[in-house]
């Protein structure tokens, strides 16, 4: 029996081939374009998230920075002294006393112990050995002009009991200098005690990329990336720049004069992206400038 089947003609095949090629080509181009857009969007979202996080985290970290002083009228010093929280203030590096919490004494402070009512301890974390404290000295309660803050190092942390029987956090402390012998007697029960660690924020390079890193100087920690990647520093471009401003908004030279810290973060995408409408692959960047007013500067 003779078959009536017929094959495609060459013309039909060619036409079909051209059509299929065109459809596949268009689909492929569409997919690739979509993928680029999608990847670019995800990278940009990550980039925005990165710089936004930088603005928030750094602001939270720096907002509580301040200064304290020991006036002569406190009877603790023969000449006035000011102790700023800003220890190093460079454009790419910042070292500071980072407040980690506050508590209030519930027994009379001694030369070796500050006992804080446990329920009053507020902060990012509990105090720990190696932290430093700064304790409020009331002296004469009839005047605020002789108020002072004195510093000590926490040698150990334990449990204790307040005068009223409620639980307490017992801080064994070591003052430096003659202050330790004089200050506790001038502290009032219920006075505030802040505990802090010395931290460093630094713009640095690791693994071929630039980062904002942080480390605890008090704990002898190593620098670890906090956020990034940031733009590499080239001529005229920096991934991170800190600026220190005084009360008039002018650049401050001395830590005591700083009232505001501004910074510009220039984040970059984790990899090269091809933006819509451009063929070239490139690392995209986004800069964000922000600032924080230091809440605890001298009034």
């Amino acid at each position: 029996m003779t078959s009536r089947r017929r094959g495609f003609t060459l013309v039909e095949m060619l036409v079909a081939l051209v059509l299929v090629t065109a459809v596949v080509g268009v689909t492929y181009a569409l997919l690739v374009q979509n993928q680029r857009v999608s990847r670019a969007q995800i990278e940009h979202a990550g980039l925005q998230d990165n710089v936004r996080t930088g603005a928030l985290v750094v602001a939270n970290e720096l907002r509580e920075i301040g200064y304290d002083s020991i006036p002569v009228s406190s009877g603790l010093a023969v000449s006035p002294s000011v102790s700023p929280d800003l220890l190093v203030m460079l454009s790419g590096r910042l070292e500071y006393k980072a407040m980690r919490g506050i508590g209030f004494t519930c027994t009379a402070p001694t030369a070796s112990e500050l006992r804080l009512q446990r329920t009053t301890v507020l902060g990012a974390r509990q105090p720990q050995a190696g932290d430093s404290v700064t304790a409020h000295v009331e002296s004469d309660s009839a005047t605020a002009t002789d108020d002072a803050w004195v510093h000590a190092v926490i040698t150990s942390v334990g449990n204790g009991v307040c005068a009223g029987g409620s639980p307490a956090v017992s801080l064994q402390v070591a003052y430096s200098g003659a202050v330790g012998a004089l200050a506790p007697a001038k502290m009032s029960v219920g006075g505030p005690v802040r505990y802090f660690e010395v931290m460093e924020l630094r713009y640095y390079k690791s693994g071929g990329k630039s980062w904002l890193g942080s480390r605890s100087v008090s704990a002898g920690g190593v620098i670890e990336p906090m956020l990034g990647p940031l733009a590499d520093s080239t001529a005229g471009v920096r991934g991170l720049t800190f600026t220190y401003l005084d009360r008039n908004g002018a650049p401050a030279v001395l830590p005591n004069d700083v009232r505001e810290i501004a910074w510009t973060l220039k984040g970059v995408t984790g990899g090269a992206v091809r933006n819509a409408g451009t063929a070239a692959l490139a690392v995209d960047s986004l800069a964000l400038s922000t600032s924080v007013a230091l809440r605890n500067t001298l009034r």
């Binding site: 569409l30 925005q48 509580e64 507020l122 009223g164």
Partner: protein, 359 residues
């Protein structure tokens, strides 16, 4: 005859569906990323709004200190203040804890809510505040910058008194003071009260009166909803009496009353305690019972019967004459001054390291 075309299998549909699925997945991924980004951005905004509300709450609590009557808190006690809604859906809820005689911790929880009443973000800040020291008050029962005409039935006593109407004060007597002290009009005695100036004091007044004649007598009042002293009532100047009939809730309320006009006339008597500041002249027509400190930047004229001031009066006006007549008693009392000045004291953030980030 069989239709051959029914057996044919094309791939266009499959290709199209495949392409649609892939494109859809990519679009969905981009949409999800964008959506997450948008939500993160909104979360950041809400957190900032909550933080702003918290800061506003702490600042406002300190600014409204006198009106809130927080000085009567016992050490260790906490007063939870009502929630206040600020712009949009942000709100703050402060709480004040007394740490000791001088120090307070003002905590403020700021929230950003949604339309359904849920909370989108919350932040808490705190301020360590201390009471401003108003000192111990004047050195005499009546301190003036201009001469005084004193009536024959007037009693001005510098003997340090512990008694108030209907009861005794709970503190030790001090030294006897002069009944009358004349100082220069520019004396700092009229300008500074402890570490606080007259202008700072009046800026913290809980009750501000215009140039007026008070025809209704000030008297202690209790809030209708709660059995607490009504600090929102401008006619409530606290309870200076210590008898069984006195308004118990207002015994610890010592407002700062400031009369900003050129004259304050207290025509209908009344009673109160705290600090009364008068920008101009003060005229009291009788039946007025006050415990604490009265400072007039002008002169004073006291007449009528049964006016008693326990504490001290100061009149800084250098022109004209002061007149104290009728059956007026001005009784110096360091104890009453101490109670009134410490009770009327307002809080200020510590000079250093007052601000606390609460996590």
């Amino acid at each position: 005859m069989t239709d051959r075309r029914t057996g044919e299998r094309g791939m266009a549909l499959a290709l199209a569906i495949f392409a649609l699925v892939v494109v859809g997945a990519l679009v969905a991924a981009a949409f999800v990323a964008g959506h997450i980004e948008q939500r993160t951005g909104r979360g950041t905004l809400y957190a900032a709004q909550a933080a702003d509300a918290a800061e506003a709450g702490a600042a406002q609590t300190i600014a409204d200190w006198g009106a809130l009557g927080l000085n009567s808190l016992a050490p260790g006690a906490t007063a939870a203040l009502p929630q206040v809604t600020v712009a949009g859906r942000s709100a703050f809820k402060p709480a004040v804890t007394r740490l000791n005689d001088q120090l307070f911790l003002v905590q403020s929880l700021g929230t950003r809510g949604n339309a359904g009443g849920g909370t989108l973000a919350r932040r808490t800040v705190a301020i360590v505040a201390r009471l401003a020291s108003l000192g111990g008050g004047p050195e005499a029962a009546l301190t003036v910058a201009a001469p005084v005409d004193v009536g024959s039935q007037v009693v001005i006593s510098g003997t340090d008194s512990l008694s108030m109407r209907g009861g005794a004060l709970d503190c030790a007597p001090g030294h006897e003071r002069p009944a009358l002290l004349k100082v220069g009009a520019s004396s700092t005695a009229f300008a500074m009260f402890g570490e606080v100036s007259f202008d700072e004091l009046k800026a913290h007044a809980g009750i501000v009166l215009p140039d007026t004649t008070l025809n209704s007598a000030p008297h202690p009042t209790v809030a209708a909803t709660r059995q607490t002293c009504d600090g929102a009532d401008p006619s409530n100047w606290g309870e200076p009496r210590r008898s069984a009939m006195s308004v118990e809730a207002c015994k610890r309320y010592f407002p700062i009353v400031y009369a900003r006009g050129p004259r304050l006339t207290i025509a209908a008597g009344g009673r109160g305690q705290g600090v009364l500041l008068v920008e101009g002249d003060l005229d009291i027509s009788g039946d007025f019972d006050f415990t604490g400190l009265i400072v007039s930047r002008g002169g004073i004229r006291m007449s009528g019967s049964r006016t008693r001031v326990t504490g001290a009066i100061m009149a800084a006006g250098a022109d004209g004459r002061n007149v104290v007549a009728g059956t007026t008693t001005i009784q110096y009392s360091s104890c009453a001054l101490k109670e009134a000045l410490s009770g009327a004291a307002f809080a200020e953030p510590l000079g250093q390291r007052s601000w606390v980030q609460v996590y």
